[in-house]
């Protein structure tokens, strides 16, 4: 991890983000995967994961995160999440004759794979919500423009 000093915020903020980002990602993942057993679900989990990435971007500056999750990959993952949610609807229509039919087995209540397609829908929403909000944060806060065509990499700062 190239730790150049001048981009991003002060050292204290960097140290704290290094500690808290781990907890945020784990807690976000927990909220998404156990969304049908304990409170939470696709939306809050997805936004929490996006906030973890936003925290890194704020603390360490854009270049640091750019090669990890750049704006373009974020919007591609966002489209894939939306596509996954869309296919869940169509598979339900194909298998059960009804749009968004819950075709997977129900399992018994209190363990992880207990509610059929709800888990996959949750993951699809997480991908979609998380990555699209991270991409819009990048566009709004840091870049002031949308990474559409690959201009020459002149440094904005």
């Amino acid at each position: 991890m190239k730790m150049d000093k001048h981009t991003g915020m002060t050292l204290i903020v960097k140290m704290i983000t290094r500690v808290t980002v781990g907890f945020m990602l784990v807690f976000g993942g927990y909220i998404v995967l156990f969304g049908h057993i304990t409170p939470g679900g696709g939306f809050p989990g997805g936004v929490m994961i996006a906030l973890a990435y936003i925290l890194i971007t704020l603390a360490y500056g854009r270049e640091f995160v750019e090669h990890k999750v750049s704006g373009v990959t974020a919007s591609i993952v966002d489209d894939l999440g939306a596509l996954l949610f869309w296919t869940m609807g169509i598979i339900g229509l194909y298998v059960g004759g009804r749009y968004f039919f819950n075709f997977l087995g129900k399992g018994e209540p209190f363990n992880l794979f207990s509610a059929g397609t709800i888990i996959i829908n949750n993951i699809a929403i997480t991908l979609k919500v998380g990555m699209s909000l991270y991409a819009i944060f990048l566009a709004l806060a840091i870049l002031q423009r949308v990474v559409t065509e690959e201009e020459p990499k002149e440094d904005e700062k």
Binding site: I31, G35, H36, I37, T38, P39, G40, G41, G42, F43, P44, V47, M48, A50, L51, I54, S75, D78, A82, F85, W86, G89, Y99, F100, N102, K106, G107, E108, P109, F110, S114, A115, G116, T117, I118, N121, N122, A124, I125, K128, V129, S132, L133, A135, I136, F137, A139, L140, A141, Q144, R145, V146, T148, E151, E156
Partner: protein
């Protein structure tokens, strides 16, 4: 009984906070006041037995604060308030709102009293939810199985607004890439 009192206190606090948000001069403190109203709202959700909504409200509140502060932090947020407001438009809106409030006072009398909802349809979700969907969090079972089409529509709403915001934020080629922050320093 005490939850009703607590809710009244929280609601009064939210009204005061939102009046501060509307009337305060500095834009940044207006955004912070609105953030406070949002956090009190998520505490109120906890008292109303909605943990899912409380988590979502706090998280979405943090994100909208980041976005809003981004829009207000480096612009002339005090200059606007120096000019006096146009009295005419404020007065007519206040009268219009007063009329609606009087009409609303009578209308809310015929709503079912606070605390016993006529759960005609959602009783089915509670009774059949566990057996037919298998999720123990009934809100998620309503969101992702009974009304999954709603949540599909809602994910598309977020998809549209993000792609619309990208369409608005795109740069035209003939426009040079002037940095938004740099404009202000030139002023």
């Amino acid at each position: 009984m005490e939850t009703v009192i607590i809710l009244h206190i929280l609601l009064v606090f939210m009204i005061i906070g939102s009046i501060i948000t509307v009337e305060i001069k500095n834009m940044l403190s207006a955004v912070i006041a609105m953030g406070a109203v949002g956090f009190v709202l998520s505490v109120a959700f906890l008292f109303l037995g909605a943990p899912d909504i409380a988590i979502t409200q706090i998280i979405v509140e943090i994100l909208s604060l980041i976005i809003l502060i981004r829009a207000t932090i480096n612009v002339d947020n005090v200059a606007i308030e120096k000019k006096e407001e146009i009295i005419f438009s404020n007065r007519t809106t206040l009268i219009f709102i007063g009329v609606i409030l009087v009409f609303a006072w009578y209308a809310f009398h015929s709503l079912p009293p606070f605390g016993d909802p006529s759960m005609r349809v959602s009783q089915f979700y509670l009774t059949h939810g566990l057996r037919e969907v298998g999720a123990t969090n009934f809100v998620t079972s309503v969101i992702l199985d009974f009304r999954a089409y709603d949540t599909f529509g809602e994910a598309m709403v977020l998809f549209t607004s993000i792609s619309g915001a990208f369409a608005i934020l795109r740069r035209w080629k003939k426009e040079q890439h002037k940095d938004f922050l740099r404009i202000d320093r030139e002023h």
